[in-house]
Protein backbone atom coordinates (compact mmCIF):
# COMPACT_ATOMS: atom_id res chain seq x y z
CA UNK A 1 0.00 0.00 0.00
CA UNK A 2 2.68 2.47 0.95
CA UNK A 3 5.87 3.16 -0.93
CA UNK A 4 8.65 1.21 0.74
CA UNK A 5 12.08 2.64 1.42
CA UNK A 6 14.98 0.68 2.84
CA UNK A 7 18.56 1.37 3.79
CA UNK A 8 21.81 -0.13 4.98
CA UNK A 9 22.57 2.34 7.68
CA UNK A 10 21.09 5.48 9.20
CA UNK A 11 23.25 7.65 6.94
CA UNK A 12 22.25 5.62 3.91
CA UNK A 13 18.65 6.68 4.48
CA UNK A 14 19.42 10.13 3.27
CA UNK A 15 21.58 9.24 0.28
CA UNK A 16 20.75 7.66 -3.06
CA UNK A 17 21.86 4.07 -2.90
CA UNK A 18 21.17 1.26 -5.34
CA UNK A 19 17.76 -0.34 -4.68
CA UNK A 20 19.13 -3.85 -3.96
CA UNK A 21 21.68 -2.52 -1.48
CA UNK A 22 19.01 -0.90 0.63
CA UNK A 23 17.59 -3.86 2.50
CA UNK A 24 18.33 -3.94 6.20
CA UNK A 25 19.57 -7.11 7.78
CA UNK A 26 17.37 -8.01 10.73
CA UNK A 27 20.34 -7.59 13.08
CA UNK A 28 21.00 -4.08 11.75
CA UNK A 29 17.39 -3.02 12.24
CA UNK A 30 17.30 -4.54 15.75
CA UNK A 31 20.48 -2.65 16.65
CA UNK A 32 19.13 0.59 15.18
CA UNK A 33 15.94 0.23 17.26
CA UNK A 34 17.78 -0.65 20.47
CA UNK A 35 20.20 2.25 19.96
CA UNK A 36 17.30 4.67 19.50
CA UNK A 37 15.92 3.51 22.84
CA UNK A 38 19.35 3.85 24.45
CA UNK A 39 19.73 7.40 23.11
CA UNK A 40 16.42 8.36 24.73
CA UNK A 41 17.55 6.87 28.04
CA UNK A 42 20.89 8.66 27.80
CA UNK A 43 19.18 12.01 27.22
CA UNK A 44 16.29 11.69 29.66
CA UNK A 45 17.02 9.14 32.37
CA UNK A 46 18.56 11.54 34.85
CA UNK A 47 15.75 12.02 37.36
CA UNK A 48 18.00 12.01 40.42
CA UNK A 49 21.69 12.16 41.33
CA UNK A 50 22.11 8.36 41.22
CA UNK A 51 20.62 7.99 37.74
CA UNK A 52 22.44 11.06 36.36
CA UNK A 53 25.77 9.57 37.38
CA UNK A 54 25.17 5.88 36.69
CA UNK A 55 23.05 5.82 33.55
CA UNK A 56 25.66 7.25 31.14
CA UNK A 57 28.15 4.68 32.44
CA UNK A 58 25.65 1.90 31.76
CA UNK A 59 24.20 3.21 28.50
CA UNK A 60 27.32 4.34 26.57
CA UNK A 61 28.79 0.80 26.19
CA UNK A 62 25.46 -0.28 24.71
CA UNK A 63 25.71 2.51 22.15
CA UNK A 64 29.30 1.66 21.26
CA UNK A 65 29.44 -2.14 21.17
CA UNK A 66 27.05 -4.37 19.23
CA UNK A 67 27.60 -7.32 21.55
CA UNK A 68 26.47 -5.21 24.51
CA UNK A 69 23.49 -3.72 22.64
CA UNK A 70 22.10 -7.18 21.94
CA UNK A 71 22.95 -8.72 25.31
CA UNK A 72 19.84 -9.79 27.22
CA UNK A 73 21.51 -9.42 30.63
CA UNK A 74 22.41 -5.84 29.73
CA UNK A 75 18.70 -5.15 29.18
CA UNK A 76 17.86 -6.95 32.41
CA UNK A 77 20.14 -4.48 34.19
CA UNK A 78 18.42 -1.57 32.43
CA UNK A 79 15.06 -3.05 33.46
CA UNK A 80 16.09 -2.96 37.11
CA UNK A 81 17.32 0.62 36.86
CA UNK A 82 14.10 1.76 35.19
CA UNK A 83 11.54 -0.36 37.06
CA UNK A 84 12.67 0.72 40.53
CA UNK A 85 12.30 4.51 40.08
CA UNK A 86 9.55 4.47 37.45
CA UNK A 87 7.29 1.58 38.42
CA UNK A 88 7.97 0.80 42.08
CA UNK A 89 8.75 4.21 43.62
CA UNK A 90 6.49 6.08 41.21
CA UNK A 91 4.17 7.46 43.90
CA UNK A 92 6.99 8.83 46.05
CA UNK A 93 8.78 11.15 43.59
CA UNK A 94 7.72 13.01 40.46
CA UNK A 95 7.43 10.40 37.67
CA UNK A 96 5.64 11.66 34.56
CA UNK A 97 3.76 9.12 32.45
CA UNK A 98 6.35 8.95 29.68
CA UNK A 99 8.84 7.58 32.24
CA UNK A 100 6.44 4.69 32.83
CA UNK A 101 6.50 4.11 29.08
CA UNK A 102 10.32 4.06 29.17
CA UNK A 103 10.08 1.28 31.76
CA UNK A 104 7.46 -0.66 29.73
CA UNK A 105 9.64 -0.45 26.61
CA UNK A 106 12.78 -1.61 28.41
CA UNK A 107 10.86 -4.46 30.06
CA UNK A 108 9.38 -5.45 26.71
CA UNK A 109 12.84 -5.54 25.07
CA UNK A 110 14.19 -7.63 27.97
CA UNK A 111 11.35 -10.15 27.83
CA UNK A 112 11.66 -10.42 24.05
CA UNK A 113 15.45 -10.93 24.17
CA UNK A 114 15.06 -13.61 26.84
CA UNK A 115 12.07 -15.50 25.44
CA UNK A 116 11.96 -14.92 21.65
CA UNK A 117 13.58 -16.96 18.94
CA UNK A 118 16.17 -14.82 17.16
CA UNK A 119 14.09 -14.61 13.98
CA UNK A 120 11.02 -13.41 15.92
CA UNK A 121 12.67 -10.56 17.85
CA UNK A 122 11.75 -7.80 15.42
CA UNK A 123 8.20 -9.00 14.91
CA UNK A 124 7.67 -9.10 18.67
CA UNK A 125 9.16 -5.61 19.07
CA UNK A 126 6.73 -4.34 16.41
CA UNK A 127 3.81 -5.99 18.20
CA UNK A 128 4.72 -4.60 21.60
CA UNK A 129 5.29 -1.09 20.22
CA UNK A 130 1.89 -1.15 18.55
CA UNK A 131 0.11 -2.22 21.72
CA UNK A 132 1.99 0.17 24.01
CA UNK A 133 0.94 3.09 21.77
CA UNK A 134 -2.64 1.77 21.50
CA UNK A 135 -3.12 1.21 25.23
CA UNK A 136 -1.46 4.48 26.16
CA UNK A 137 -3.97 6.40 24.02
CA UNK A 138 -6.88 4.19 25.09
CA UNK A 139 -6.20 5.05 28.74
CA UNK A 140 -5.64 8.72 27.87
CA UNK A 141 -9.05 8.90 26.16
CA UNK A 142 -10.74 7.06 29.04
CA UNK A 143 -9.09 9.55 31.44
CA UNK A 144 -10.50 12.46 29.47
CA UNK A 145 -14.03 11.04 29.69
CA UNK A 146 -13.49 10.84 33.47
CA UNK A 147 -12.64 14.56 33.61
CA UNK A 148 -15.75 16.79 33.28
CA UNK A 149 -13.57 19.90 32.86
CA UNK A 150 -12.02 18.37 29.74
CA UNK A 151 -15.36 17.63 28.11
CA UNK A 152 -16.77 21.15 28.65
CA UNK A 153 -13.62 22.93 27.41
CA UNK A 154 -12.56 24.32 30.82
CA UNK A 155 -9.33 22.32 30.82
CA UNK A 156 -7.88 23.99 27.73
CA UNK A 157 -9.33 27.36 28.73
CA UNK A 158 -7.28 27.09 31.92
CA UNK A 159 -4.21 25.32 30.53
CA UNK A 160 -3.76 27.58 27.51
CA UNK A 161 -3.70 30.64 29.75
CA UNK A 162 -1.91 29.16 32.78
CA UNK A 163 0.80 26.91 31.33
CA UNK A 164 3.72 28.90 29.83
CA UNK A 165 4.34 26.14 27.25
CA UNK A 166 1.10 27.23 25.48
CA UNK A 167 1.59 31.00 25.65
CA UNK A 168 2.97 31.35 22.10
CA UNK A 169 -0.02 29.45 20.70
CA UNK A 170 -2.56 31.28 22.89
CA UNK A 171 -1.34 34.77 22.13
CA UNK A 172 -1.30 33.93 18.40
CA UNK A 173 -4.60 32.07 18.06
CA UNK A 174 -6.75 33.89 20.66
CA UNK A 175 -5.16 37.33 20.39
CA UNK A 176 -4.20 37.54 24.05
CA UNK A 177 -1.52 39.98 25.14
CA UNK A 178 1.63 37.97 26.06
CA UNK A 179 2.15 40.27 29.05
CA UNK A 180 -1.30 39.35 30.40
CA UNK A 181 -0.33 35.67 30.09
CA UNK A 182 2.97 36.37 31.83
CA UNK A 183 0.96 37.91 34.68
CA UNK A 184 -0.99 34.61 34.96
CA UNK A 185 2.31 32.75 35.31
CA UNK A 186 3.38 35.09 38.12
CA UNK A 187 0.00 34.79 39.88
CA UNK A 188 0.12 30.99 39.76
CA UNK A 189 3.70 31.02 41.01
CA UNK A 190 2.62 33.24 43.93
CA UNK A 191 -0.37 31.00 44.64
CA UNK A 192 1.85 27.91 44.82
CA UNK A 193 4.07 29.64 47.39
CA UNK A 194 1.24 31.31 49.29
CA UNK A 195 0.98 31.51 53.07
CA UNK A 196 -2.71 32.34 52.69
CA UNK A 197 -4.76 29.54 51.13
CA UNK A 198 -7.68 31.95 50.61
CA UNK A 199 -5.80 33.81 47.86
CA UNK A 200 -7.87 34.45 44.69
CA UNK A 201 -6.89 35.83 41.28
CA UNK A 202 -8.51 36.25 37.87
CA UNK A 203 -7.06 34.37 34.89
CA UNK A 204 -6.25 36.86 32.11
CA UNK A 205 -7.26 35.99 28.57
CA UNK A 206 -9.47 33.02 29.52
CA UNK A 207 -12.56 34.84 28.17
CA UNK A 208 -11.10 34.62 24.63
CA UNK A 209 -10.63 30.87 24.82
CA UNK A 210 -14.01 29.23 25.46
CA UNK A 211 -14.79 28.11 21.90
CA UNK A 212 -11.14 27.40 21.11
CA UNK A 213 -10.91 25.29 24.30
CA UNK A 214 -13.96 23.27 23.21
CA UNK A 215 -12.57 22.76 19.70
CA UNK A 216 -9.21 21.56 21.01
CA UNK A 217 -10.98 19.19 23.42
CA UNK A 218 -13.07 17.61 20.64
CA UNK A 219 -10.08 17.33 18.30
CA UNK A 220 -7.99 15.71 21.05
CA UNK A 221 -10.72 13.17 21.88
CA UNK A 222 -11.13 12.36 18.17
CA UNK A 223 -7.47 11.95 17.28
CA UNK A 224 -6.51 10.10 20.47
CA UNK A 225 -9.59 7.86 20.09
CA UNK A 226 -8.68 7.01 16.51
CA UNK A 227 -5.09 6.20 17.53
CA UNK A 228 -6.35 4.00 20.38
CA UNK A 229 -8.72 2.05 18.14
CA UNK A 230 -6.43 1.73 15.12
CA UNK A 231 -3.42 0.60 17.18
CA UNK A 232 -5.34 -1.83 19.43
CA UNK A 233 -7.21 -3.49 16.55
CA UNK A 234 -5.53 -6.46 14.84
CA UNK A 235 -3.82 -5.67 11.52
CA UNK A 236 -6.61 -7.38 9.54
CA UNK A 237 -9.03 -4.51 10.30
CA UNK A 238 -9.18 -1.73 7.71
CA UNK A 239 -8.82 1.03 10.31
CA UNK A 240 -5.57 -0.50 11.53
CA UNK A 241 -4.01 0.24 8.14
CA UNK A 242 -4.47 3.98 8.73
CA UNK A 243 -2.90 3.98 12.18
CA UNK A 244 0.28 5.77 11.09
CA UNK A 245 -1.73 8.57 9.51
CA UNK A 246 -3.56 9.16 12.82
CA UNK A 247 -0.34 9.05 14.83
CA UNK A 248 1.44 11.44 12.47
CA UNK A 249 -1.56 13.81 12.57
CA UNK A 250 -1.33 13.73 16.38
CA UNK A 251 2.42 14.38 16.39
CA UNK A 252 2.10 17.26 13.90
CA UNK A 253 -0.82 18.94 15.69
CA UNK A 254 0.37 18.40 19.24
CA UNK A 255 4.10 18.72 19.71
CA UNK A 256 4.72 22.05 17.95
CA UNK A 257 2.26 23.48 20.54
CA UNK A 258 2.65 21.26 23.63
CA UNK A 259 6.39 20.80 23.78
CA UNK A 260 6.44 17.58 25.82
CA UNK A 261 9.80 16.31 24.57
CA UNK A 262 9.98 13.08 26.62
CA UNK A 263 6.59 11.84 25.51
CA UNK A 264 7.12 12.91 21.90
CA UNK A 265 10.44 11.10 21.51
CA UNK A 266 9.31 7.76 22.99
CA UNK A 267 6.11 7.90 20.95
CA UNK A 268 8.10 8.61 17.78
CA UNK A 269 10.45 5.71 18.51
CA UNK A 270 7.57 3.30 19.12
CA UNK A 271 5.96 4.65 15.94
CA UNK A 272 9.16 3.92 14.05
CA UNK A 273 9.45 0.37 15.38
CA UNK A 274 5.88 -0.64 14.51
CA UNK A 275 6.05 1.01 11.07
CA UNK A 276 8.82 -1.25 9.75
CA UNK A 277 7.69 -4.16 7.57
CA UNK A 278 8.03 -7.90 8.14
CA UNK A 279 10.77 -7.86 5.49
CA UNK A 280 12.69 -5.37 7.66
CA UNK A 281 12.09 -2.49 5.30
CA UNK A 282 11.44 1.06 6.30
CA UNK A 283 8.18 2.59 5.06
CA UNK A 284 7.64 6.30 4.33
CA UNK A 285 6.15 6.45 7.83
CA UNK A 286 9.36 5.00 9.30
CA UNK A 287 11.30 7.77 7.60
CA UNK A 288 8.94 10.39 9.02
CA UNK A 289 9.37 9.01 12.56
CA UNK A 290 13.14 8.82 12.12
CA UNK A 291 13.35 12.42 10.92
CA UNK A 292 11.16 13.57 13.83
CA UNK A 293 13.37 11.56 16.22
CA UNK A 294 16.43 13.45 14.98
CA UNK A 295 14.93 16.95 14.77
CA UNK A 296 12.67 16.76 17.83
CA UNK A 297 14.90 18.90 20.09
CA UNK A 298 14.00 21.83 17.80
CA UNK A 299 10.45 21.92 19.24
CA UNK A 300 11.98 23.78 22.17
CA UNK A 301 12.41 26.80 19.90
CA UNK A 302 9.39 29.10 20.54
CA UNK A 303 8.53 29.34 16.82
CA UNK A 304 5.27 31.27 17.23
CA UNK A 305 6.89 33.85 19.51
CA UNK A 306 9.86 34.19 17.14
CA UNK A 307 7.55 34.60 14.10
CA UNK A 308 5.31 37.12 15.89
CA UNK A 309 8.31 39.19 16.90
CA UNK A 310 9.55 39.22 13.27
CA UNK A 311 6.19 40.06 11.62
Amino acid sequence: MSKVYSTKSILGLFSKVKENALSLKSDDLTILILKMILIILLILMKDNAVLSILMPVIIVPGLLFKAVTLNKYYWLLLSLFSAIPYLILDLVGYVPNHKHIFAYVILAVTIILFLSKEEDILENLRHQSKYIIGLCFLFAVAGKFLAPEFMDGRFFEFTNTADPRFYGFTSFIADVDPLALKANETNIENLMSTTNPNTVFTLNGAQNLHSIGLMISYWTIFIEGMIAISFCLPGSFLLSKYRNIFLIAFVLTTYPIATVYGFAIILTTLGFIQSTTKKNQLTKYSLFYLIVFIFLPLIKIPFIRVLSSIF
Partner: protein
Protein backbone atom coordinates in the same frame (compact mmCIF):
# COMPACT_ATOMS: atom_id res chain seq x y z
CA UNK B 1 6.77 -22.61 23.86
CA UNK B 2 3.15 -21.48 24.06
CA UNK B 3 3.72 -20.01 27.54
CA UNK B 4 6.67 -17.98 26.27
CA UNK B 5 4.52 -16.55 23.46
CA UNK B 6 1.77 -15.63 25.92
CA UNK B 7 4.26 -13.89 28.22
CA UNK B 8 5.81 -11.97 25.32
CA UNK B 9 2.43 -10.89 24.01
CA UNK B 10 0.47 -10.08 27.15
CA UNK B 11 2.89 -9.23 29.98
CA UNK B 12 3.38 -5.53 29.13
CA UNK B 13 -0.29 -4.86 28.25
CA UNK B 14 -1.26 -6.42 31.62
CA UNK B 15 1.28 -4.29 33.51
CA UNK B 16 -0.09 -1.19 31.75
CA UNK B 17 -3.65 -2.19 32.64
CA UNK B 18 -2.61 -2.68 36.28
CA UNK B 19 -1.19 0.86 36.49
CA UNK B 20 -4.27 2.34 34.81
CA UNK B 21 -6.68 0.61 37.22
CA UNK B 22 -4.49 1.48 40.22
CA UNK B 23 -4.52 5.12 39.11
CA UNK B 24 -8.34 5.22 38.96
CA UNK B 25 -8.70 3.54 42.37
CA UNK B 26 -6.13 5.78 44.10
CA UNK B 27 -7.52 8.96 42.52
CA UNK B 28 -10.99 8.10 43.84
CA UNK B 29 -9.96 6.82 47.26
CA UNK B 30 -6.73 8.63 48.21
CA UNK B 31 -6.75 11.83 46.09
CA UNK B 32 -3.81 10.71 43.94
CA UNK B 33 -2.94 13.29 41.29
CA UNK B 34 -4.64 11.77 38.21
CA UNK B 35 -1.61 12.73 36.05
CA UNK B 36 0.68 10.54 38.18
CA UNK B 37 1.05 6.81 38.77
CA UNK B 38 1.29 5.66 35.15
CA UNK B 39 -2.45 5.89 34.46
CA UNK B 40 -1.78 7.85 31.24
CA UNK B 41 -4.45 10.34 32.34
CA UNK B 42 -2.37 13.40 31.53
CA UNK B 43 -3.99 16.48 29.96
CA UNK B 44 -7.42 15.65 31.40
CA UNK B 45 -7.94 17.29 34.78
CA UNK B 46 -6.91 20.79 35.81
CA UNK B 47 -5.89 19.45 39.22
CA UNK B 48 -2.32 18.16 39.14
CA UNK B 49 0.44 18.03 41.70
CA UNK B 50 2.31 20.95 40.12
CA UNK B 51 -0.72 23.10 41.00
CA UNK B 52 -1.26 21.69 44.49
CA UNK B 53 -0.36 23.55 47.66
CA UNK B 54 0.83 21.69 50.73
CA UNK B 55 1.61 23.13 54.13
CA UNK B 56 0.95 23.03 57.85
CA UNK B 57 -0.69 25.33 60.38
CA UNK B 58 1.12 26.64 63.43
CA UNK B 59 -0.26 28.65 66.33
CA UNK B 60 2.02 31.20 67.94
CA UNK B 61 1.14 34.16 70.17
CA UNK B 62 -2.58 33.59 69.58
CA UNK B 63 -2.08 33.93 65.83
CA UNK B 64 -2.31 31.29 63.09
CA UNK B 65 0.44 30.79 60.50
CA UNK B 66 0.24 28.64 57.34
CA UNK B 67 3.73 27.34 56.50
CA UNK B 68 3.85 26.43 52.80
CA UNK B 69 6.16 23.42 52.36
CA UNK B 70 7.26 24.79 49.00
CA UNK B 71 9.16 27.49 50.86
CA UNK B 72 11.07 25.02 53.08
CA UNK B 73 14.02 23.57 51.18
CA UNK B 74 14.77 20.96 53.84
CA UNK B 75 11.32 19.41 53.28
CA UNK B 76 11.43 19.24 49.48
CA UNK B 77 10.84 15.47 49.32
CA UNK B 78 7.93 15.64 51.77
CA UNK B 79 6.48 18.54 49.77
CA UNK B 80 6.45 16.48 46.56
CA UNK B 81 5.19 13.30 48.27
CA UNK B 82 2.32 15.11 49.99
CA UNK B 83 1.13 16.61 46.71
CA UNK B 84 1.29 13.39 44.68
CA UNK B 85 -0.71 11.25 47.11
CA UNK B 86 -2.15 13.20 50.07
CA UNK B 87 -3.59 10.15 51.83
CA UNK B 88 -4.28 10.21 55.59
CA UNK B 89 -1.42 7.87 56.41
CA UNK B 90 1.12 9.67 54.24
CA UNK B 91 0.16 13.10 55.62
CA UNK B 92 0.31 11.78 59.19
CA UNK B 93 3.81 10.44 58.55
CA UNK B 94 4.94 13.74 57.02
CA UNK B 95 3.45 15.72 59.91
CA UNK B 96 5.51 13.68 62.38
CA UNK B 97 8.65 14.34 60.29
CA UNK B 98 7.84 18.06 60.30
CA UNK B 99 7.58 18.02 64.09
CA UNK B 100 11.07 16.56 64.35
CA UNK B 101 12.58 19.81 63.03
CA UNK B 102 13.32 22.85 65.21
CA UNK B 103 10.88 25.58 64.18
CA UNK B 104 11.36 29.22 64.98
CA UNK B 105 9.28 32.40 64.77
CA UNK B 106 11.10 35.09 62.83
CA UNK B 107 10.00 38.47 64.18
CA UNK B 108 11.34 40.58 61.32
CA UNK B 109 9.46 38.63 58.59
CA UNK B 110 6.55 37.46 60.77
CA UNK B 111 7.09 33.94 59.45
CA UNK B 112 7.81 30.48 60.82
CA UNK B 113 11.07 28.95 59.60
CA UNK B 114 13.41 26.07 60.41
CA UNK B 115 16.15 27.10 62.86
CA UNK B 116 19.52 25.69 61.91
CA UNK B 117 20.68 25.82 65.48
CA UNK B 118 18.58 26.32 68.59
CA UNK B 119 20.84 29.04 70.06
CA UNK B 120 20.17 31.45 67.18
CA UNK B 121 16.40 31.19 67.63
CA UNK B 122 14.83 33.79 69.92
CA UNK B 123 11.30 32.46 69.58
CA UNK B 124 11.34 28.64 69.32
CA UNK B 125 8.06 26.94 68.42
CA UNK B 126 7.15 23.87 70.51
CA UNK B 127 6.08 20.92 68.30
CA UNK B 128 2.72 20.99 70.10
CA UNK B 129 1.97 24.29 68.34
CA UNK B 130 1.98 22.50 64.98
CA UNK B 131 -1.72 21.82 64.56
CA UNK B 132 -2.34 20.12 61.22
CA UNK B 133 -1.17 19.53 57.67
CA UNK B 134 -3.29 20.53 54.68
CA UNK B 135 -3.13 19.89 50.94
CA UNK B 136 -5.08 22.07 48.49
CA UNK B 137 -5.81 21.73 44.79
CA UNK B 138 -6.30 24.51 42.27
CA UNK B 139 -9.85 25.33 41.27
CA UNK B 140 -10.90 27.29 38.19
CA UNK B 141 -14.32 28.90 37.90
CA UNK B 142 -15.13 29.24 34.20
CA UNK B 143 -17.88 31.83 34.83
CA UNK B 144 -15.94 34.28 37.00
CA UNK B 145 -12.55 33.23 35.51
CA UNK B 146 -11.26 33.12 39.09
CA UNK B 147 -8.58 30.76 40.35
CA UNK B 148 -8.78 29.63 43.98
CA UNK B 149 -7.56 26.79 46.18
CA UNK B 150 -9.79 24.01 47.48
CA UNK B 151 -8.90 21.80 50.43
CA UNK B 152 -8.30 18.14 49.47
CA UNK B 153 -7.19 16.69 52.78
CA UNK B 154 -6.45 17.85 56.29
CA UNK B 155 -4.75 15.72 58.95
CA UNK B 156 -4.65 16.87 62.55
CA UNK B 157 -1.69 16.46 64.85
CA UNK B 158 -2.01 13.48 67.20
Amino acid sequence: MKTKKIVIRYFIPLVMLFFFVRNIVLVETHDLDSWMGGGMRMFGKIDKMLYRVSGFNVEYNNKGYFVNLRNIKELEDQYVESKILPSESRLQEILEEIKDYNWCYNESTDKITISVNEETCNHPIPSGNIKNIEVYKIQYNAESKEVTLKLINNVKSL
